[in-house]
């Protein structure tokens, strides 16, 4: 490795460097000023803001970084990864603001240093994950991400269900990353490389379609499927989501899932792409019927997610299943295997970020006031907490995908991609899923408004901060529903995936 190249490549990972320094600063600050915990989120926010700035500067660069060997690179700093980095940073900002408000996090005041350090650790893991161009980097960054999130899921040590969630997460996560590294080692054994681009060029010459390669491939996909909670690798999701502190649940459901999707898309596209048609459909090496595989997984995922959500009384658990269902919709966008489908996926993620985080935020704020996430305790809240209830309704309606909310635009682009690919039956199944999902989302609205009004008004603490935070989340949900040109443009500019 040439040291000069190494140093110049550092220019490309300024955002990562900033995040690592922030992590160190937070850690040191916590050690030195033991009693000044309220500065920790501010330092983290400042670091993230800087990282956002440098991520935006990186847009349009599209360069490989950290080469080794003849033409192998560990990271690809392309628009696609920058898009996901931006998504992760924005959701991190919201998560830190959530954490400030969260009662669960507040009570562990003396461990706030750990909390923000681990959160930054998660971000760093996701950052390397979304731009990883090498199986080893993928594995290591998934581990960085996972180890931080295992601890964060069980952050409130005094809470039994936190600890349970954390333990379950560790066990499932450990098994799945074990399977994944096994699969990776098999791939290395057969191709002699861990680099995605190089494996692609090897596959071009030698047709590897024997059972061993297929198995190793499925093992890696299982590991990635665990991160995005695709059925049948979803079993941890409801338990962990229900048990973990709400900010962490929200974070796992948006940022960690986005990172998982990013690496899945890169894995499939860079490793197996053999060409692109005129309409920008991807032609993949026919190792397996990619489209059918993805369609089957996505349909099972969305159907099972939606049907299970129908029976949930705990709102966090319901949103967990709903996020499984949404992973199914997003996977369907990937299943189209075209740049059009990819656009739909990116647009879906932008909108999903706001609507899902928003829903979790309101659930958390309501839980702060009534100490419950049970749907039956929501009866009549529409009258005692009018603002929060109205906002929750908007987020949920957007999750259903009804216009004029942004959720409709997300679904619209998805269905446009499906219809253009002539996947009509799949589109119909997805639409029926949407109708099913209406039932459980509206069940919340029913409890909020249709039950008899409670007499007393509940006072919200930190009123203006809460109001402005919720409004910041709700404005894009409405605005992008009516005028969606900006997000479509952003998605369009983020399609560039380096490789080949």
């Amino acid at each position: 490795m040439n040291i000069n190249n190494f140093l110049s490549d550092l220019n490309l990972i300024y955002p990562e460097i900033i995040l690592v320094s922030t992590l160190v600063i937070v850690l040191l600050f916590d050690l030195i000023f033991k009693h000044n915990k309220s500065f920790l989120p501010i330092i983290s926010l400042a670091g993230i803001t800087f990282a956002i700035f440098f991520t935006i500067l990186n847009f349009g660069k599209n360069e490989f970084a950290f080469g080794y060997g003849s033409n192998n690179f560990l990271l690809s700093i392309d628009d696609f990864s920058n898009f996901f980095k931006l998504l992760i940073l924005i959701s991190s900002i919201f998560i830190i603001l959530f954490s400030i408000l969260s009662n669960e996090i507040k009570i562990c005041r003396d461990r706030h240093g750990e909390y923000y350090t681990l959160l930054l650790g998660m971000i760093i893991g996701m950052f390397f994950l979304v731009s990883a161009n090498d199986l080893i980097v993928i594995y290591i960054s998934i581990e960085i991400l996972s180890l931080s999130s295992y601890i964060l899921a069980g952050f409130v040590k005094t809470s039994l269900r936190n600890s349970e969630a954390s333990l379950k997460y560790v066990i499932y996560g450990g098994v799945s990353s074990g399977i994944m590294i096994f699969g990776m080692s098999l791939i290395y054994g057969m191709t002699g490389s861990t680099n995605l681009s190089e494996i692609n060029s090897i596959l071009k010459v030698t047709a590897l379609s024997d059972v061993t390669f297929l198995t190793s491939l499925l093992m890696v996909l299982a590991g990635l499927g665990f991160k995005i909670s695709v059925v049948p690798f979803h079993f941890w999701t409801p338990d962990v989501y229900e048990g973990a502190p709400i900010p962490i649940t929200a974070y796992l459901s948006v940022a960690s899932k986005a990172a998982g999707f990013a690496v899945l898309i890169r894995f499939i596209k860079i490793m197996f792409l053999s060409g692109i048609t005129n309409n920008e459909y991807w032609v993949l090496y026919p190792i397996i019927d990619w489209r059918s595989l993805l369609i089957i997984f996505s349909i099972i995922t969305m159907t099972l997610g939606n049907l299970s959500a129908l029976w949930q009384d705990n709102l966090k658990r319901m949103l967990a299943y709903s996020s499984i269902a949404h992973a199914g919709y997003i996977l369907l966008g990937l299943a189209v295997l075209s740049n059009q489908g990819l656009t739909a996926v990116l647009i879906y993620f932008i909108i999903y970020l706001f609507m899902n985080l928003g829903a979790f935020l309101v659930v958390m704020l309501i839980a702060n006031e009534i100490n419950s996430e049970d749907i039956n305790d929501y009866k009549g809240l529409g009258y005692s907490l009018p603002f929060l209830s109205a906002m929750l309704s908007i987020f949920l309606i957007s999750l259903v995908g009804l216009p004029p909310t942004a959720g409709f635009i997300a679904k619209l682009y998805l269905f446009i991609a499906l219809v253009d690919a002539k996947m009509i039956v799949v589109a119909i199944i997805a639409l029926i899923n949407t109708v099913i999902s209406l039932y459980y989302y509206v069940r919340v609205l029913k409890n909020l408004y249709l039950s008899k009004p409670a007499e007393n008004k509940i006072k919200i603490r930190n009123l203006s901060f809460v109001y402005s935070l919720v409004l910041i989340m709700v404005v894009p949900v409405i605005l992008f529903g009516i005028y969606f040109a900006p997000i479509t443009n952003l998605a369009k500019y983020s399609l560039k995936i380096l490789g080949m």
Binding site: N279, I432, K446, A485, T488
Partner: protein, 534 residues
Amino acid sequence: MNNFPILSLITFLPILGMLIILFIPKRNSLFIKSFTIIITAIQLVLAIVLLVNYNFNLAGINDIKSFQFVEKFRWIEIDGFAWLGKIKIDYFLGVDGLSVPMILLTTIITFIASISSWTIDKSIKGYFLMFLLLDTGMIGVFVALDFFLFYIFWELMLLPMYFLIGIWGGPRREYAAIKFFLYTLLGSVLILLVMIGLYFSTMETLADGTRVFTFNMLEMMNPTNYTQNGILSPLNPANLRFIAFIGLFIGFAIKIPMFPFHTWLPDAHVEAPTPISVILAGILLKMGTYGILRISYPIFPDITKDLIWWIALFGAINIIYGALCAMAQKDFKKLIAYSSVSHMGYVMLGMAALNTLGISGAILQMFNHGTITAMLFLLVGVVYDRAHIRDIEGFGGLGKQMPIYTGFTTVAFFAAIGLPGLSGFISEALVFLGSFGNDSIRILAIISTLGILLGAGYMLWTLQRVFLGSLPEKWNQLTDLDTREYIMFVPLVIIIIFLGVYPSPMLNLMNSSVNAIVDIVEKSGSFIKSIGSL
């Protein structure tokens, strides 16, 4: 006058009102109520201004030049997609002879419903917010000429309707509200799918000569705009036009509601508060048939022509089945709900006739049914407000106790039966004239006349049970109509009698547009077939 955005104003005035009401404290309930009435009254005035300035000779339907009060702006424009070229969506409003009667109907009924909402006493602010949101959705559906915009307005109505039934409704309101929501959402997703399919099958030529996929309904109606291998393009031998037509039709039929998709209607009607029943029956049901005439007919003329027998058949089933169900009802409101099913059957029968008489009759029937049923639901509301029951058997002899109320009811009932001199007669007569004139559905038309007989049967029987005979003692205290109720009923009665005696203004209003629809289905149906067989 033509540059003034009158359609946007009518459509978004309620949203403006909503924003104002949002900032009015809850306790000013009197102000909120009267403010809503003022908003709907302004809408009505604007609709009348629209009518006065409307040129009766222009047809509209598929020709943008003969649409009036057109507002067309680029709403979304995104360049540079390798697979689509450009994404373009217009904000496109306009009216023709098909939509003007519906706008008139909507503004009249909404105005009356807002007066009727005076008696709402629970969470008044929330009610009127939802009421106004619903109002925008309804008008929007009738003025939108871009499919995407149409769909947004179409869906915009679902949520307020869910809350209006679910919060302010009767004892089984939760069930009725969710049933309404699920049924109509199922219909809408079918419409959505067809919309996307059409988007990929038609291309519009822009001013600079580039061709882009389009959501513009008028461009979708032009057979020369079809792409070579769009899934809904007749040029594609493997096209899915037939399936798409069925999907779209079911989407609209759920709203009509057509048998067998009608089961949400009796529940929703019985549980909804009176003003919402009025809006539901008076306006929302018309959207189904409006959608078929506005979208299904001109965009799928070839398939329409093949399937008119089936449309007529379901119309006939609606007529007879609705009437028989109505006859068996003990609940006054449920009876009216089923009579709506029956009367919407006439609209479908008239549409299926595919000639000027039949389609004019259908549109007129949409208008007349809107006014008559609105009145019937208001009348049920009046007696329910006083007696707190709606059981037909529980009444009797009200004729002596409430003579003026009885008078209004009799007019409305006779109009519903189709007594000559009242508006219902004209439209039903036109529907039957039209459908007799079409050889292929004549038999169905003959069978459907049975519906008139049945209609007279259940209406007169109800009249007898409620108003004649001896008055049970507990109803001694019932008072006759008050001023507010007069304000609601008198305009409706005037419309019903006026259109019964002198329907020609209304018929002239829609005549050229109806001719255009007939023409499109007759001519371009064969044209599409010829390009399809190339």
